[in-house]
Amino acid sequence: EAGVAQSPRYKIIEKRQSVAFWCNPISGHATLYWYQQILGQGPKLLIQFQNNGVVDDSQLPKDRFSAERLKGVDSTLKIQPAKLEDSAVYLCASSPRSKGGKKSSYNEQFFGPGTRLTVL
């Protein structure tokens, strides 16, 4: 089965410019996540979608970051305007719907290769 796809793989922009990242999760996966991983740190969850609804965006800097998953499949993450501190790898992950009464927290998250953003 195909994995999580992300594009572009690399992006270099100047501060105050805008940028968008795209993610296509594994087919049939209901939950989609966007993470920010700054060099030397663990990934930080920015936003979590269940189908096309947001279930957690408490760590998303909403003054400059936005994300959508309009049809409950692929998703875009946008930064407008970018700051120097936004330089990071942006990871997308997806996980399947829980079955058989199992808790959703048990589900493995499958990660894409990430987009490395450099803001100059």
């Binding site: 994995g3 939950t31 996540y33 993470y35 030397g40 740190q41 663990g42 990934p43 930080k44 969850l45 979590q48 279930v55 957690d56 990871l91 992950a93 829980s98 199992k102 808790k103 959703s104 927290s105 048990y106 589900n107 493995e108 998250q109 990660f111 894409g112 290769p113 990430g114």
Partner: protein, 113 residues
């Protein structure tokens, strides 16, 4: 509030010797706990997960972890390190609702020949 602390930022072992990567967590409820590995220029991969069944969890590539509720720990071990184990390892906690995924800061494992 949930939190994850990986007690060592770097661990260095010789090939063939045991590996111990330490993780402590804090959670208000019964969490799910995971270990992920990230090799250079590769995506994150699941090593193993604890989901309230057996407290000793076996994962891929000979790794295992033990959930100790009294110590709020979920340390990762492997009896004998291999050169290919050199990577960054992340301990992860997720609350029972499936929300609030929190990654630890990571432990970089070096394996010497």
């Amino acid at each position: 509030a949930q939190s994850v602390t990986q007690l060592d930022s770097h661990v260095s072992v010789s090939e063939g010797t045991p590996v111990l990567l330490r993780c402590n967590y804090s959670s208000s409820y019964s969490p799910s706990l995971f270990w992920y590995v990230q090799h250079p220029n590769k995506g994150l991969q699941l090593l193993l997960k604890y989901t309230s069944a057996a407290t000793l969890v076996k994962g891929i590539n000979g790794f295992e972890a033990e959930f100790k509720k009294s110590e709020t720990s979920f340390h990762l071990t492997k009896p004998s390190a291999h050169m290919s184990d050199a990577a960054e390892y992340f301990c992860v906690v997720i609350d029972t609702g499936g929300f609030k995924t929190i990654f630890g800061a990571g432990t970089r494992l070096f394996v010497k020949a």
